[in-house]
């Protein structure tokens, strides 16, 4: 009986989880330039000012895999798998 009540309680407790989602933010390949424009860093990307946070390779539109906010600043991760797997 106690287990049954626990299950009922747990069902209602976890019911909202069935509908809530963990958002994975993503940018589609062809929207990337637009997104970079909205961040106001187009010139920096074009000139290779930013570097991959792990390997220090200059970031361009071709080798950008992910953008991460860290201690209030934007950090960039390049397409190298060893860098992405460090996130």
């Amino acid at each position: 009986m106690k287990l049954f009540l626990f299950k009922i309680k747990n069902f209602f407790k976890t019911f909202p989880d069935r509908f809530s989602r963990t958002p994975v933010r993503a940018v589609y390949d062809s929207d990337l330039k637009n997104l970079i424009d909205s961040l106001g860093i187009r010139n920096e990307i074009d000139s290779g000012t930013y570097a991959c946070k792990f390997c220090n390779t200059p970031i361009t539109f071709e080798n950008l895999r992910a953008i991460q906010k860290e201690t209030g600043e934007l950090k960039f991760i390049c397409t190298k798998l060893e860098c992405f797997s460090k996130i």
């Binding site: 940018v27 997104l35 860290e70 798998l81």
Partner: protein, 357 residues
């Protein structure tokens, strides 16, 4: 409900719109609740995207495909991992963003067109589990131990659910991680051993998370690697004794008293003529030893009996049922099984302290 002053054609249109909205709403709720139906949604989007090739349709098809794949995996893991750890994934497309819109640590993942969908999926799974595992304790748990846990869960789920991607995952994520940090390979081997007996998600992750929660603002935080190692060694020793079919596992093999938590195992299998009584006696023993957390691990073959024992333990005043969870494999290595976590009831603990005073 529909105003009579409207012409017949307008009434009919309103009726069709209303009925369509109801049907679509119902389908949406159904897709949300039953992850396997997500495939139907994905196939529909893929069909539409293939037919019209509009960028919006293609994006919806890609997102739906990744979400469906991840959520099929998540649906099973939700019953296995600590309650509230993982929720279903939802791809949120960004076309514009300002720095202020992003939360600390948040990631925006670049998704390639459909031709690279396998890579998109692997990246999505890895990013998702990196975000979902160890909520609120990420910073406390050492990076190599945490990353190995993410890799272990990702690897197991990909091998089970998407075996055609296993090789690709091993060659890319696993190989790279191990090459960069040799200690990850050691952790992976140890985690796998625990996972084959249901103790990885069943016990280890829950214990580590609990310790990390308690150690957050304590000196113990600086000794998390040592604590993780000791728990691993204890569970590994316990498994070795089980594998050797040692019927006389020394008493200290069944429990561990650490600096932040204490836990004990109770393996439930054979229903004998005394029913649940021997198990309840064992629980009473743990209670007198002041063990705070009790993991009841039920064998798959005797699952109904294990559930009965769990319900009987739940009647005892000292321990409170915190979670009932599925296990990937039971302690005999058979797929399936049930587990439960009991924690010391605060009320019972208070009463005991009052009596002692």
């Amino acid at each position: 409900m529909i105003p009579n002053f409207l012409p017949i054609w307008a009434q009919n249109t309103l009726m069709i719109v209303g009925a369509s909205a109801l049907v679509l709403g119902f389908l949406k709720v159904l897709f949300e609740i039953v992850p396997r139906l997500g495939r139907l949604k994905t196939d529909s989007w893929k069909y539409v995207a293939g037919k019209w090739k509009h960028r919006r349709f293609v994006k919806n098809a890609i997102a739906s495909d990744i979400e469906t794949h991840i959520n099929e995996v998540v649906a099973d893991l939700q019953k296995e991992l600590p309650s509230g750890w993982i929720k279903k994934a939802s791809i949120k497309w960004m076309t514009e963003v300002s720095n202020n819109d992003l939360e600390e640590g948040e990631l925006i993942l670049r998704i390639q067109p459909f031709e690279n969908q396998d890579q998109n999926f692997l990246s999505g799974v890895y990013a998702f589990f990196s975000k979902a595992l160890f909520p609120r304790t990420k910073e406390v748990i050492p990076l190599n131990a945490r990353k190995a846990a993410v890799l272990q869960i990702s690897h197991r789920t990909i091998s089970d659910k998407k075996p055609y991607l296993q090789q690709s995952f091993e060659d890319s994520f696993l190989e790279t991680a191990v090459r960069n940090d040799a200690s990850i390979a050691t952790y992976l081997g140890r985690y796998k051993r625990l996972d084959q007996r249901g103790f990885f998600t069943g016990t280890f992750l829950r214990e580590i998370h609990e310790i990390a929660t308690k150690a957050r603002f304590q000196d113990l935080r600086n000794k998390m690697n040592q604590e993780i190692d000791e728990i691993l060694s204890h569970v590994e020793g316990f498994i070795t004794q089980l594998e050797n079919r040692t019927h006389n596992i020394p008493p200290e093999g069944w429990y561990r008293v650490g600096p932040a938590t204490s836990y004990a195992f109770l393996l439930v299998a054979y229903p004998n003529h005394q029913g649940a009584r021997p198990y309840l006696n064992r629980v009473q023993e743990r209670s007198t030893q002041n063990i705070e957390r009790l993991y009841v691990m039920g064998a798959k073959e005797q699952e109904p009996f294990a559930r009965y024992v769990i319900s009987e333990i739940a009647k005892l005043p000292r321990y409170q049922l915190a979670e009932v969870f599925d296990i990937n494999k039971d302690y005999r290595g058979t797929i399936g099984g049930v587990g439960a976590l009991f924690v010391v009831s605060q009320t019972a603990e208070q009463n005991r302290e009052d009596t002692e005073e």
